[in-house]
Protein backbone atom coordinates (compact mmCIF):
# COMPACT_ATOMS: atom_id res chain seq x y z
CA UNK A 1 0.00 0.00 0.00
CA UNK A 2 1.16 3.54 -0.63
CA UNK A 3 3.38 5.00 2.05
CA UNK A 4 3.36 8.71 2.93
CA UNK A 5 5.94 10.56 5.01
CA UNK A 6 4.56 14.02 5.74
CA UNK A 7 7.84 15.08 7.32
CA UNK A 8 10.02 14.29 4.33
CA UNK A 9 7.20 15.03 1.88
CA UNK A 10 7.59 11.67 0.17
CA UNK A 11 5.05 9.20 -1.17
CA UNK A 12 6.05 5.66 -2.15
CA UNK A 13 4.07 3.53 -4.57
CA UNK A 14 4.78 -0.10 -5.40
CA UNK A 15 4.23 -1.28 -8.96
CA UNK A 16 4.72 -4.94 -9.84
CA UNK A 17 5.37 -6.35 -13.32
CA UNK A 18 3.81 -9.82 -13.35
CA UNK A 19 3.59 -12.45 -16.06
CA UNK A 20 4.74 -15.84 -17.35
CA UNK A 21 8.40 -16.86 -17.68
CA UNK A 22 10.47 -14.97 -20.28
CA UNK A 23 7.64 -12.63 -21.21
CA UNK A 24 9.85 -9.52 -20.82
CA UNK A 25 9.25 -8.25 -17.28
CA UNK A 26 12.93 -7.77 -16.51
CA UNK A 27 13.51 -6.33 -20.00
CA UNK A 28 10.94 -3.61 -19.23
CA UNK A 29 12.90 -2.55 -16.15
CA UNK A 30 16.27 -2.85 -17.89
CA UNK A 31 15.06 -0.59 -20.67
CA UNK A 32 13.64 1.96 -18.23
CA UNK A 33 16.85 1.94 -16.23
CA UNK A 34 18.83 2.54 -19.40
CA UNK A 35 16.75 5.42 -20.78
CA UNK A 36 15.66 7.35 -17.70
CA UNK A 37 17.73 10.40 -16.73
CA UNK A 38 19.89 9.83 -13.68
CA UNK A 39 18.04 12.50 -11.66
CA UNK A 40 14.93 10.33 -11.54
CA UNK A 41 16.31 6.83 -11.15
CA UNK A 42 17.96 4.91 -8.34
CA UNK A 43 20.10 1.83 -8.63
CA UNK A 44 18.58 -1.22 -10.26
CA UNK A 45 18.82 -4.40 -8.22
CA UNK A 46 18.48 -7.82 -9.84
CA UNK A 47 18.29 -11.06 -7.92
CA UNK A 48 18.91 -13.60 -10.66
CA UNK A 49 19.97 -17.19 -11.06
CA UNK A 50 23.23 -18.16 -12.79
CA UNK A 51 21.21 -18.54 -15.97
CA UNK A 52 20.16 -14.88 -15.70
CA UNK A 53 16.58 -15.74 -14.79
CA UNK A 54 14.84 -13.79 -12.03
CA UNK A 55 15.18 -15.67 -8.76
CA UNK A 56 13.44 -13.33 -6.35
CA UNK A 57 12.73 -9.92 -7.87
CA UNK A 58 14.20 -7.04 -9.82
CA UNK A 59 13.86 -3.60 -8.29
CA UNK A 60 14.07 -0.14 -9.84
CA UNK A 61 13.10 3.03 -7.95
CA UNK A 62 12.02 6.09 -9.98
CA UNK A 63 11.12 9.55 -8.70
CA UNK A 64 8.81 12.25 -10.00
CA UNK A 65 7.18 15.44 -8.75
CA UNK A 66 3.74 14.66 -10.08
CA UNK A 67 1.92 15.23 -6.78
CA UNK A 68 1.97 18.80 -5.54
CA UNK A 69 4.50 19.39 -2.79
CA UNK A 70 5.70 15.78 -2.65
CA UNK A 71 8.35 13.58 -4.17
CA UNK A 72 6.50 10.58 -5.62
CA UNK A 73 8.60 7.44 -5.61
CA UNK A 74 7.55 4.59 -7.84
CA UNK A 75 9.20 1.36 -6.78
CA UNK A 76 9.09 -1.01 -9.72
CA UNK A 77 9.36 -4.74 -9.01
CA UNK A 78 9.26 -7.82 -11.21
CA UNK A 79 8.39 -11.31 -10.06
CA UNK A 80 10.07 -14.56 -11.12
CA UNK A 81 7.93 -16.11 -13.83
CA UNK A 82 8.92 -19.72 -13.34
CA UNK A 83 6.22 -21.90 -11.81
CA UNK A 84 8.38 -23.16 -8.95
CA UNK A 85 8.86 -19.67 -7.51
CA UNK A 86 5.26 -19.07 -6.52
CA UNK A 87 6.11 -18.35 -2.88
CA UNK A 88 8.35 -15.48 -3.92
CA UNK A 89 5.78 -14.14 -6.39
CA UNK A 90 3.29 -14.04 -3.56
CA UNK A 91 5.75 -12.19 -1.30
CA UNK A 92 6.51 -9.55 -3.92
CA UNK A 93 2.79 -8.80 -4.31
CA UNK A 94 2.55 -7.69 -0.68
CA UNK A 95 1.43 -4.06 -0.50
CA UNK A 96 1.19 -3.63 -4.29
CA UNK A 97 -0.37 -0.37 -5.55
CA UNK A 98 -0.39 -1.09 -9.28
CA UNK A 99 0.15 -4.02 -11.63
CA UNK A 100 1.39 -4.50 -15.16
CA UNK A 101 0.70 -7.95 -16.57
CA UNK A 102 3.31 -8.67 -19.24
CA UNK A 103 1.99 -11.29 -21.64
CA UNK A 104 4.06 -13.03 -24.31
CA UNK A 105 2.37 -12.57 -27.71
CA UNK A 106 3.66 -15.78 -29.29
CA UNK A 107 0.95 -18.35 -30.00
CA UNK A 108 2.71 -21.10 -28.10
CA UNK A 109 2.79 -18.96 -24.94
CA UNK A 110 -0.96 -18.48 -24.63
CA UNK A 111 -1.37 -21.27 -22.10
CA UNK A 112 1.45 -19.82 -19.99
CA UNK A 113 -0.18 -16.39 -20.18
CA UNK A 114 -3.53 -17.71 -19.03
CA UNK A 115 -1.98 -19.76 -16.22
CA UNK A 116 0.04 -16.79 -15.00
CA UNK A 117 -2.99 -14.50 -15.04
CA UNK A 118 -4.94 -17.03 -13.00
CA UNK A 119 -1.97 -17.39 -10.65
CA UNK A 120 -1.90 -13.60 -10.19
CA UNK A 121 -5.53 -13.59 -9.09
CA UNK A 122 -4.93 -16.51 -6.69
CA UNK A 123 -1.89 -14.85 -5.16
CA UNK A 124 -3.75 -11.58 -4.69
CA UNK A 125 -6.49 -13.48 -2.87
CA UNK A 126 -3.88 -14.78 -0.43
CA UNK A 127 -3.30 -11.13 0.53
CA UNK A 128 -7.08 -10.51 0.72
CA UNK A 129 -6.84 -8.34 -2.38
CA UNK A 130 -8.62 -8.54 -5.72
CA UNK A 131 -7.51 -7.44 -9.16
CA UNK A 132 -10.73 -5.43 -9.48
CA UNK A 133 -9.56 -3.09 -6.70
CA UNK A 134 -6.02 -2.50 -7.95
CA UNK A 135 -5.04 -0.34 -10.92
CA UNK A 136 -3.63 -2.65 -13.57
CA UNK A 137 -2.69 -2.78 -17.23
CA UNK A 138 -1.93 -5.44 -19.79
CA UNK A 139 1.12 -5.46 -21.97
CA UNK A 140 1.14 -7.69 -25.04
CA UNK A 141 4.86 -7.98 -25.54
CA UNK A 142 7.13 -9.28 -28.33
CA UNK A 143 4.87 -7.94 -31.08
CA UNK A 144 7.89 -7.92 -33.43
CA UNK A 145 8.15 -11.70 -33.52
CA UNK A 146 6.59 -13.92 -36.18
CA UNK A 147 3.73 -16.12 -35.13
CA UNK A 148 2.08 -13.79 -32.65
CA UNK A 149 -1.56 -14.03 -31.62
CA UNK A 150 -3.89 -11.18 -32.67
CA UNK A 151 -4.38 -8.58 -29.95
CA UNK A 152 -8.12 -9.26 -30.00
CA UNK A 153 -7.43 -12.86 -29.02
CA UNK A 154 -5.05 -11.85 -26.21
CA UNK A 155 -7.56 -9.27 -25.03
CA UNK A 156 -10.24 -11.97 -24.95
CA UNK A 157 -7.92 -14.32 -23.06
CA UNK A 158 -6.43 -11.91 -20.53
CA UNK A 159 -9.11 -9.29 -20.06
CA UNK A 160 -12.01 -11.16 -18.48
CA UNK A 161 -13.06 -8.71 -15.77
CA UNK A 162 -16.14 -6.50 -15.96
CA UNK A 163 -13.99 -3.38 -15.95
CA UNK A 164 -11.75 -4.00 -18.89
CA UNK A 165 -8.10 -3.18 -18.51
CA UNK A 166 -6.25 -1.06 -21.02
CA UNK A 167 -3.64 -2.90 -23.05
CA UNK A 168 -0.41 -1.87 -24.77
CA UNK A 169 1.29 -3.60 -27.68
CA UNK A 170 4.99 -3.57 -26.89
CA UNK A 171 8.43 -4.64 -27.99
CA UNK A 172 10.31 -4.28 -24.71
CA UNK A 173 13.70 -5.15 -26.24
CA UNK A 174 13.37 -2.00 -28.40
CA UNK A 175 11.55 0.04 -25.77
CA UNK A 176 8.40 0.27 -27.88
CA UNK A 177 5.47 0.98 -25.55
CA UNK A 178 7.55 0.57 -22.37
CA UNK A 179 7.52 4.19 -21.16
CA UNK A 180 3.87 4.58 -22.18
CA UNK A 181 2.95 1.58 -20.06
CA UNK A 182 4.88 2.98 -17.09
CA UNK A 183 3.40 6.47 -17.33
CA UNK A 184 -0.12 5.12 -17.66
CA UNK A 185 0.09 2.80 -14.66
CA UNK A 186 1.69 5.60 -12.60
CA UNK A 187 -1.18 7.92 -13.46
CA UNK A 188 -3.73 5.25 -12.55
CA UNK A 189 -2.01 4.57 -9.23
CA UNK A 190 -1.86 8.27 -8.35
CA UNK A 191 -5.50 8.78 -9.32
CA UNK A 192 -6.55 6.00 -6.95
CA UNK A 193 -4.30 7.36 -4.20
CA UNK A 194 -5.73 10.87 -4.50
CA UNK A 195 -9.26 9.52 -4.50
CA UNK A 196 -8.58 7.46 -1.36
CA UNK A 197 -7.07 10.45 0.44
CA UNK A 198 -9.62 13.08 -0.48
CA UNK A 199 -11.29 14.50 2.57
CA UNK A 200 -14.94 13.56 2.64
CA UNK A 201 -17.56 16.34 2.63
CA UNK A 202 -18.22 15.72 6.34
CA UNK A 203 -14.54 16.08 7.15
CA UNK A 204 -14.28 19.30 5.14
CA UNK A 205 -17.27 20.77 6.99
CA UNK A 206 -15.82 19.73 10.33
CA UNK A 207 -12.43 21.18 9.42
CA UNK A 208 -13.98 24.47 8.29
CA UNK A 209 -16.05 24.68 11.48
CA UNK A 210 -12.90 24.04 13.51
CA UNK A 211 -10.94 26.87 11.89
CA UNK A 212 -13.87 29.28 12.28
CA UNK A 213 -14.09 28.45 15.97
CA UNK A 214 -10.39 29.28 16.36
Amino acid sequence: MSFVNLDKKEINFKIVYYGPPLSGKTTNLEYLHAVMPKEVKGEMTMLSTKQDRTLYFDFLPLESRAIKGFVSRFQLYTVPGQTMYNQTRRLVLSGVDGLVFVGDSQWDCMENNADSFKNLQENLRSHNRALEDIPYLLQFNKRDLPSVAPVEYMDFLLNPLKTRARYFETVATQGIGVAETLNTICKMVMAQFIQQHQLSVDELVRKAAGSEAR
Binding site: M1, S2, F3, V4, N5, L6, D7, K8, E10, I11, N12, K14, G24, T27, Y31, L32, A34, V35, M36, P37, V40, G42, E43, T45, L47, Q51, R53, Y56, F57, F59, P61, L62, E63, S64, R65, A66, I67, K68, G69, F70, Q75, T88, L91, V92, S94, G95, K142, T173, Q174, G175, A179, L182, N183, C186, K187, F193, I194, Q196, H197, L199
Partner: protein
Amino acid sequence: MVVTVEQSRLLNKAVADLVAQAEAEEAYLTDFDGNVLAQASPHDSRSVQGIAALSAGAFSATRQLAGLMGEAMFQSVYHQGHNTHLYMQSLASQFLILVVFARQTTVGLVKLYVRKLSEELDPLLRELAGQTAAGVGADREAFALDPAGRLFEQRPASPPAAPERRAPP
Protein backbone atom coordinates in the same frame (compact mmCIF):
# COMPACT_ATOMS: atom_id res chain seq x y z
CA MET B 1 0.27 4.26 5.74
CA VAL B 2 0.77 7.90 6.63
CA VAL B 3 3.57 8.98 8.96
CA THR B 4 3.01 12.45 10.39
CA VAL B 5 5.73 15.04 10.95
CA GLU B 6 5.69 14.45 14.70
CA GLN B 7 5.79 10.65 14.34
CA SER B 8 8.61 10.89 11.82
CA ARG B 9 10.72 13.02 14.17
CA LEU B 10 10.14 10.67 17.08
CA LEU B 11 11.13 7.67 14.98
CA ASN B 12 14.22 9.36 13.56
CA LYS B 13 15.37 10.42 17.03
CA ALA B 14 14.90 6.90 18.40
CA VAL B 15 16.89 5.40 15.52
CA ALA B 16 19.66 8.00 15.90
CA ASP B 17 19.82 7.26 19.65
CA LEU B 18 20.13 3.55 18.88
CA VAL B 19 23.11 4.17 16.58
CA ALA B 20 24.83 6.35 19.17
CA GLN B 21 24.20 4.05 22.15
CA ALA B 22 25.06 0.80 20.38
CA GLU B 23 28.05 2.44 18.64
CA ALA B 24 26.72 1.24 15.31
CA GLU B 25 27.43 2.73 11.88
CA GLU B 26 23.91 3.27 10.61
CA ALA B 27 20.35 2.07 11.13
CA TYR B 28 17.04 2.07 9.28
CA LEU B 29 13.48 1.52 10.37
CA THR B 30 11.39 0.07 7.54
CA ASP B 31 8.09 -1.72 7.11
CA PHE B 32 7.83 -5.25 5.72
CA ASP B 33 7.26 -3.79 2.23
CA GLY B 34 10.61 -1.98 2.27
CA ASN B 35 9.38 1.58 2.91
CA VAL B 36 11.80 3.58 5.07
CA LEU B 37 10.13 5.23 8.08
CA ALA B 38 13.31 6.56 9.69
CA GLN B 39 17.04 6.40 9.23
CA ALA B 40 20.30 7.37 10.82
CA SER B 41 22.71 7.07 7.95
CA PRO B 42 25.03 9.12 5.76
CA HIS B 43 23.23 7.94 2.60
CA ASP B 44 20.50 9.96 0.95
CA SER B 45 17.02 8.54 1.05
CA ARG B 46 17.09 7.55 -2.63
CA SER B 47 20.06 5.20 -2.31
CA VAL B 48 18.59 3.73 0.86
CA GLN B 49 15.62 2.33 -1.07
CA GLY B 50 17.62 -0.56 -2.47
CA ILE B 51 18.89 -1.51 0.99
CA ALA B 52 15.36 -1.39 2.39
CA ALA B 53 13.82 -3.38 -0.49
CA LEU B 54 16.47 -6.09 -0.32
CA SER B 55 16.32 -6.36 3.48
CA ALA B 56 12.53 -6.56 3.45
CA GLY B 57 12.75 -9.23 0.75
CA ALA B 58 15.34 -11.22 2.69
CA PHE B 59 13.31 -11.00 5.87
CA SER B 60 10.11 -12.05 4.06
CA ALA B 61 11.91 -15.09 2.70
CA THR B 62 13.09 -15.89 6.23
CA ARG B 63 9.52 -15.67 7.50
CA GLN B 64 8.41 -18.20 4.90
CA LEU B 65 11.29 -20.43 5.91
CA ALA B 66 10.20 -20.18 9.54
CA GLY B 67 6.70 -21.26 8.51
CA LEU B 68 8.09 -24.36 6.80
CA MET B 69 9.88 -25.23 10.06
CA GLY B 70 6.78 -24.81 12.16
CA GLU B 71 7.77 -21.43 13.59
CA ALA B 72 5.46 -18.44 13.35
CA MET B 73 8.39 -16.17 12.59
CA PHE B 74 12.14 -15.87 13.05
CA GLN B 75 12.37 -12.61 15.00
CA SER B 76 15.82 -11.65 13.85
CA VAL B 77 18.44 -12.27 11.19
CA TYR B 78 22.15 -11.62 11.55
CA HIS B 79 24.48 -11.28 8.56
CA GLN B 80 28.10 -11.49 9.58
CA GLY B 81 30.64 -9.93 7.22
CA HIS B 82 34.38 -9.55 7.41
CA ASN B 83 34.31 -5.91 8.52
CA THR B 84 30.65 -4.96 8.50
CA HIS B 85 27.67 -6.79 9.91
CA LEU B 86 23.91 -6.38 9.59
CA TYR B 87 21.40 -7.21 12.29
CA MET B 88 17.68 -7.19 11.42
CA GLN B 89 14.86 -7.62 13.88
CA SER B 90 11.11 -7.38 13.47
CA LEU B 91 9.27 -4.78 15.54
CA ALA B 92 5.53 -4.74 16.29
CA SER B 93 4.99 -7.61 13.81
CA GLN B 94 5.08 -5.33 10.75
CA PHE B 95 8.31 -3.37 10.89
CA LEU B 96 12.03 -4.01 10.71
CA ILE B 97 15.00 -2.38 12.34
CA LEU B 98 18.22 -2.79 10.37
CA VAL B 99 21.45 -2.03 12.18
CA VAL B 100 24.76 -1.88 10.34
CA PHE B 101 27.77 -2.12 12.61
CA ALA B 102 31.50 -2.74 12.53
CA ARG B 103 34.26 -3.95 14.84
CA GLN B 104 33.94 -1.27 17.49
CA THR B 105 30.81 -2.87 18.89
CA THR B 106 29.29 -6.32 19.35
CA VAL B 107 26.09 -7.99 18.23
CA GLY B 108 25.17 -8.41 21.91
CA LEU B 109 25.25 -4.68 22.50
CA VAL B 110 23.26 -4.05 19.33
CA LYS B 111 20.62 -6.56 20.43
CA LEU B 112 20.42 -4.93 23.85
CA TYR B 113 19.67 -1.48 22.44
CA VAL B 114 17.34 -2.87 19.79
CA ARG B 115 15.30 -4.42 22.59
CA LYS B 116 15.15 -1.03 24.32
CA LEU B 117 14.09 0.61 21.04
CA SER B 118 11.46 -2.06 20.47
CA GLU B 119 9.85 -1.38 23.85
CA GLU B 120 10.02 2.37 23.37
CA LEU B 121 8.47 2.41 19.89
CA ASP B 122 5.97 -0.41 20.27
CA PRO B 123 2.86 1.76 20.95
CA LEU B 124 3.64 4.14 18.10
CA LEU B 125 4.40 1.35 15.62
CA ARG B 126 1.21 -0.48 16.55
CA GLU B 127 -0.72 2.73 15.99
CA LEU B 128 0.84 3.05 12.52
CA ALA B 129 0.18 -0.60 11.74
CA GLY B 130 -3.46 -0.15 12.72
CA GLN B 131 -4.15 2.50 10.12
CA THR B 132 -6.77 1.73 7.53
CA ALA B 133 -5.78 1.25 3.91
CA ALA B 134 -6.22 4.94 3.18
CA GLY B 135 -3.96 5.77 6.11
CA VAL B 136 -6.16 8.51 7.45
CA GLY B 137 -5.39 10.44 10.58
CA ALA B 138 -5.83 13.81 12.18
CA ASP B 139 -3.02 15.22 10.05
CA ARG B 140 -4.32 13.90 6.77
CA GLU B 141 -3.59 16.27 3.96
CA ALA B 142 -5.40 16.67 0.70
CA PHE B 143 -3.23 15.51 -2.17
CA ALA B 144 -3.50 16.84 -5.70
CA LEU B 145 -1.68 16.37 -8.95
CA ASP B 146 0.80 19.12 -9.74
CA PRO B 147 -0.31 20.76 -13.01
CA ALA B 148 3.36 21.43 -13.81
CA GLY B 149 4.44 18.01 -12.59
CA ARG B 150 5.82 15.50 -15.02
CA LEU B 151 6.06 11.79 -15.08
CA PHE B 152 8.82 9.95 -16.86
CA GLU B 153 10.39 11.01 -20.11
CA GLN B 154 13.15 9.17 -21.85
CA ARG B 155 16.42 10.96 -22.35
CA PRO B 156 16.46 12.75 -25.70
CA ALA B 157 19.73 11.04 -26.64
CA SER B 158 19.61 7.88 -28.69
CA PRO B 159 18.18 4.92 -26.81
CA PRO B 160 20.56 2.33 -25.47
CA ALA B 161 21.43 -0.91 -27.18
CA ALA B 162 18.43 -3.13 -26.66
CA PRO B 163 18.84 -5.74 -23.96
CA GLU B 164 19.16 -9.08 -25.67
CA ARG B 165 16.13 -11.27 -25.55
CA ARG B 166 16.95 -14.25 -23.43
CA ALA B 167 16.59 -17.64 -25.00
CA PRO B 168 14.47 -20.24 -23.27
CA PRO B 169 16.61 -22.71 -21.31
